[in-house]
Symmetry: C2
Subunit: 117 residues, 2 copies
């Protein structure tokens, strides 16, 4: 029996909201809000703020994971969201979450990949 895990969106975007790229405080609230709004099930998370600015975060979900890495000095971030379809098709949620993150940063997309895994 074949099983197709689900949709993974990977993006690189620039943002002039360097205060939002600088540390994870405000972004963390957004991630938590997206998890609740999309009825996802968080099983753990790691947030790491770099001394000179920028942060890296991964959130582990029963549905897979989300991650972000920021470089405020380059006004740049990379973002990933991958939700598996184990219990239901989550592709629309993947797209909505990505759009919410891009909007939050008022981001300009440099590259986006949508991979059906």
């Amino acid at each position: 029996m074949k099983y197709s895990p689900g949709l993974h969106i990977l993006s690189e975007f620039t943002s002039n909201q360097t205060h939002l790229l600088f540390n994870s405080d405000q972004f963390r609230a957004l991630f938590d809000q997206l998890i609740v709004a999309n009825q996802l099930d968080k099983v753990g998370e790691v947030y790491h703020d770099f001394e000179n600015g920028g942060f890296t975060a991964v959130v582990c979900l029963t549905e897979s994971h989300m991650s972000i890495h920021t470089w405020p000095e380059y006004k740049l971030a990379t973002f990933d969201v991958f939700l598996s379809n184990y219990k239901r098709n989550n592709s629309d949620k993947v797209k909505r979450i990505y759009q919410s993150v891009l909007s939050f940063f008022d981001g300009v997309e440099m590259q986006k990949n949508e991979i059906v895994r």
Copy 2:
């Protein structure tokens, strides 16, 4: 100034080593060994074993992240490794880590994407 974060490999593979896909115990040792061998800097990790088998794990690195999700009932796993080039070019390490993971599971690659972010 333009900055290109680095190489991200995403893979789906099958494996007949269902005991290795079933829980994270043995895989965790491999991840830790790869982090040391490749002189990466772990800042946090999440391992979650599902009651009925399968696990999901993300490791957060100052260099970005690695993740794995397994479905032993489908003999399937999805694996990601993304290392940024902030201090040095890590593309070779990304490729080596991926090959080590595939070998560990004696995996057969179903799909692989290499994205230069």
